[in-house]
Symmetry: C2
Subunit: 123 residues, 2 copies
């Protein structure tokens, strides 16, 4: 399976709550990192539990997937009810083609600072 296909399967399996397929894509000592909180989750069993126990009826739409030799990136949109948020995720793969590292970013909306006159499009 290509790394791009593995990333698409990862998100599709998460969306279906198909944890068997989801787990099959991960190596045993997968590391999941959330740089915004400083949290790390290590190991397939713990990372599965983290996902299975995520609160809310969340749904994922995949926007873009890019892959390199031993890495990949995705941009997805997560919806919970009327709320939606983009997630940017960077993956690394081991020699067996399993996901060994996942780094997730969840940027939130913020109020734009002042910009130079006439630079930003009118809305």
């Amino acid at each position: 399976m290509s790394h791009a296909d593995a990333v698409r399967s990862y998100w599709e399996a998460a969306e279906r709550r198909d944890w068997e397929t989801f787990a099959s894509l991960l190596c045993e000592d997968v590391a999941y990192r959330l740089p915004q909180t400083g949290e790390t989750i290590t190991g397939k069993r713990r990372y599965l539990r983290f996902n299975i126990e995520l609160p809310g009826d969340w749904h994922i739409t995949v926007h873009r997937v890019l892959a390199g030799e031993d890495e990949a990136a995705s941009w997805v949109r997560a919806k919970v009810g009327d709320d939606q948020q983009d997630a940017l995720t960077f993956f690394r793969f081991d020699a067996a083609g399993e996901i060994s590292e996942i780094t997730d970013f969840w940027p939130e909306r913020y109020v734009a600072p002042a910009r130079p006159d006439g630079v930003v499009d009118e809305r």
Copy 2:
């Protein structure tokens, strides 16, 4: 120039404040989007001005670059003094190989919510 090389040149030119090289990578009607604020900047001239007038003595370190057929993604770290922040950027390219679309995400730190017992690594 490969799309991955174009993205590396984009960040290196920004870091050097080499606006001529930076501009040469962009198509005339490039669109820059900041989904977190809802802002869009359209056109090479305005997008250049936006960058040239960004406040602060910012410095960019490139962590990862991935490229596909007509797109690319990067993960960079921006430092301004002692502050640092990750930026995740998705690029599209036109048929001439120029950057036609840039979508930038600037996730900020937040306090982790409660997690299931024993899932997150001790720090």
